[in-house]
């Protein structure tokens, strides 16, 4: 028998043997408060707000770190439990700035929600002053150590999931802080700006740099022609900003919402995702012909680029020189689109909506200005777009559906799956296979590279030749693959790396509440988007075909090199 009998608030229930008290209680529909606990992380048990009474145990126990035992009698609703939780919350608040009113997390802060739920009315002690300076050193993230409750969730994701180890607990006693060493700023250390720390932070202690005002300003400026592009991952997550369940496909509503915000053209990063496949696919073929610089490593994830530039600079020659779809879009908006629409590039303002905080840094790279103007002028994360739509008073659920504008809004199903781990690989294989063999694929799905497994491998037959490919997501897994490549133990031809777990749908700019379970649902939705598309291969995207015919001429041609490709540099262990 895998189940055992326990009692929750007097009621007999049967629970999986290995379950924690927290999960056992949750299964009964009782929501226990938690702060340091995160479903995808190891138990830290440092906040104590999840306490319950267990019969026969003198002290209250932390439910997140206690396993159930046969016959255990758990009480979650006694006055003692309630009062203890309230006291713990009061203690946290006594050492916390009382700034909820002006805090970026006002509305979705886990601490504030608990305070409201438990009726915290009085806070003993002095109101803590803002003694620590905020870290605004990067274009991606803002750290406000004054609001940190030392739950350790950021440190865990930074050290384990990402294995870069930037944020960690320092000092002891009352001086404990979670920060980079020597209290340095993020720009001074080897942070990759993935924002996974911000995604798991329960409070307003680390968050995306908010660029909504910049975009409002551009929208209000009559001299600016403001165009927007949206990443594949946003269409399957933005609905969560409005309380809808994860995995909703809301492409049509998203387009309507952006149009209502006042964007002059609503375009799609999927268009340049298809273009990326054309360029990167040909790059792969070229390298396979010469046998040089293999495996080809993908380049569309800016957190990953920040990583390899700092941690494995020796492998930079392997990285595809393709700019990411976001940057390709910007470069084309200010050249191809500017020419065809007769609008001066200096008056075009490109906004992108991304699941990612590292995209803000990428857009700000000085080399990303191949039209003579900055490719992308402002990057909003999914969370920031949610904020703008709420400010505009939009009832997202009630919006009608509409279509992206042509031509930079036309895309294929292959582009949609860019947002999921394995998607770039699958999209590339669909195109490379057909280009090389001249035959059409009878089955488009490459299921070996799909799913949440950390490292996926597959071999594909291309014109009688077997090639090996690999896919990794999350930098801890990327590191493992890099070690294999560095030691010469890998014989891959093509490797897809995504910085964030699950790929872009799990990015650091996505709606709060992103867990691996939520990631899996968004991934499923993206494959559904792909299936619903009339065109499912990048090279069959008619708008991309027009672009080559009328403007670029050929993949890897001169104009492509000027606008769509970039170079990398060894940064040492610091992002600046």
């Amino acid at each position: 028998m895998n189940k055992m009998k326990i009692f929750v608030n007097g009621q007999e229930v049967w629970i999986e043997k290995d379950s924690t008290v927290l999960n056992a209680v949750k299964q009964q529909g009782i929501d226990l408060p938690t702060l340091c606990h995160h479903p995808d992380q190891r138990v830290k048990a440092n906040c104590r707000v999840c306490v319950v009474e267990v019969e026969g145990v003198k002290n209250l126990v932390a439910s997140c770190s206690t396993k159930v035992a046969e016959g255990m009698r758990i009480t979650t609703n006694s006055p003692r439990v309630r009062e203890t939780v309230r006291t713990i919350l009061e203690l946290i608040f006594a050492d916390h700035p009382h700034e909820c009113l002006t805090c970026i997390r006002n509305g979705n802060c886990e601490l504030r929600q608990l305070a409201s739920k438990y009726g915290v009315r009085d806070i003993e002690g002095e109101k803590a002053n803002n003694i620590f300076p905020q870290d605004k050193s990067t274009p991606s993230l803002v750290r406000n150590p004054n609001k940190c409750i030392k739950c350790g969730r950021c440190a865990e994701v930074c050290h384990h999931t990402q294995n870069v180890g930037i944020l960690y607990s320092h000092n002891r006693g009352t001086e404990v802080c979670i920060a980079p060493e020597y209290g340095k700023q993020l720009a001074e250390v080897a942070c990759v700006l993935c924002g996974q720390c911000a995604l798991v932070c329960p409070v307003g202690a680390i968050h995306e740099k908010d660029d909504t005002d910049l975009v409002w300003e551009a929208l209000a400026n009559p001299h600016k022609h403001v165009v927007v592009q949206t990443a594949p991952a946003v269409r399957v997550s933005i609905a969560e900003e409005f309380g809808l369940p994860p995995g909703e496909i809301s492409t049509g509503k998203l387009v309507t919402a952006l149009r209502k915000l006042g964007f002059d053209q609503v375009f799609d990063t999927d268009f340049t995702a298809d273009l990326t496949i054309m360029e990167e696919g040909h790059e792969l073929l070229q390298r396979m012909q010469t046998g040089k610089n293999l495996p080809l490593l993908t380049s569309c994830s800016p957190g990953w680029i920040n990583y390899i530039e700092q941690y494995y600079p020796g492998l930079l020659p392997l990285v595809s020189t393709c700019k990411s779809p976001q940057q390709m879009f910007g470069a084309l908006a200010k050249t191809y689109y500017a020419q065809s629409s007769g609008i001066e590039p200096k008056n075009i303002f490109v906004v992108s909506v991304m699941p990612c905080t590292a995209k803000k840094y990428e857009a700000a790279r000085p080399e990303m200005n191949s039209s003579g103007f900055r490719d992308v002028d402002a990057v909003l994360t999914s969370r920031e777009l949610g904020r703008m739509l709420r400010q505009e008073g939009m009832d997202f659920q009630k919006l009608t559906e509409s279509e992206f504008d042509a031509p930079l809004g036309i895309s294929s199903g292959a582009a949609a799956i860019f947002g999921a781990t394995g998607g770039v690989m699958e999209a590339a294989l669909r195109t490379v296979y057909e280009v090389v063999t001249g035959e059409s694929l009878c089955k488009l799905e490459f299921s070996e590279v799909r799913g949440m497994e950390g490292i996926k491998e597959a071999s594909v037959e291309l014109d009688g030749k077997e090639i090996k490919v690999a896919v990794a997501h999350g930098l801890d897994k990327a590191k493992k693959v890099m070690e294999l490549i560095q030691s010469g133990k890998a014989d891959y031809s093509f490797v897809e790396i995504m910085c964030c777990p699950g790929g872009c749908i799990g990015g650091g700019g996505q709606p709060y509440g992103t867990t691996n379970e939520v990631r899996a649902k968004r991934i499923e939705a993206l494959y559904q988007v792909d299936e619903n598309m009339p065109v499912r291969k990048s090279h069959e995207n008619p708008a991309v075909q027009d672009l080559y015919r009328d403007f670029l001429k050929e993949p890897l041609g001169e104009l492509s090199h000027q606008l769509l490709h970039t170079e990398y540099r060894n940064r040492g262990l610091s992002i600046n």
Binding site: H159, G165, I166, Y168, H170, N171, R172, P180, E181, Y182
Partner: protein
Amino acid sequence: MMSSTIVQDIIHQHGGDKALLLQVLLAVQDADPQKYLSEESVNEIARILEIPRSRVYSTASFYSEISLQPRGIYLIRVCTNAPCENAGKALVLQAIEKELGIGAGQTTSDGIFTVECVNCLGACYMSPAIKVNDVIYGDLTPEKAVKIIAELRKEYQDGQNTSGSCI
């Protein structure tokens, strides 16, 4: 500045074992002429042991035995454990702080003295006790402590003068 080879040697002596991080940190601190763990040393240890810098720093900043600030030529460790406490440590510490014009955990601006509070020096039989570099002084009174400082100052100045006269 500590040379990287010294750090490498120390790590080598500890078998390159990540689990011995604290011991490595203490040994590197000891080998440093300024008796502290410099940022260069932290980075070097992180690089060789393949531990993120933040984690090396975390351990270093957790243990009171490790100083992240350069320490004076004379490191005065004042015992704050119960036996010394009961024997009048508070007055001794006060006298030292007053004489040097710094608080515990600080270094004089001329870089000659550092005062730190520590746990038992193993000299409880002559409490209250302090330790200056490797020498223990016991059965202290505030007056005795001030006298010791005066002697150390003289010792330092004599050293300076002799080295000066060599030129």
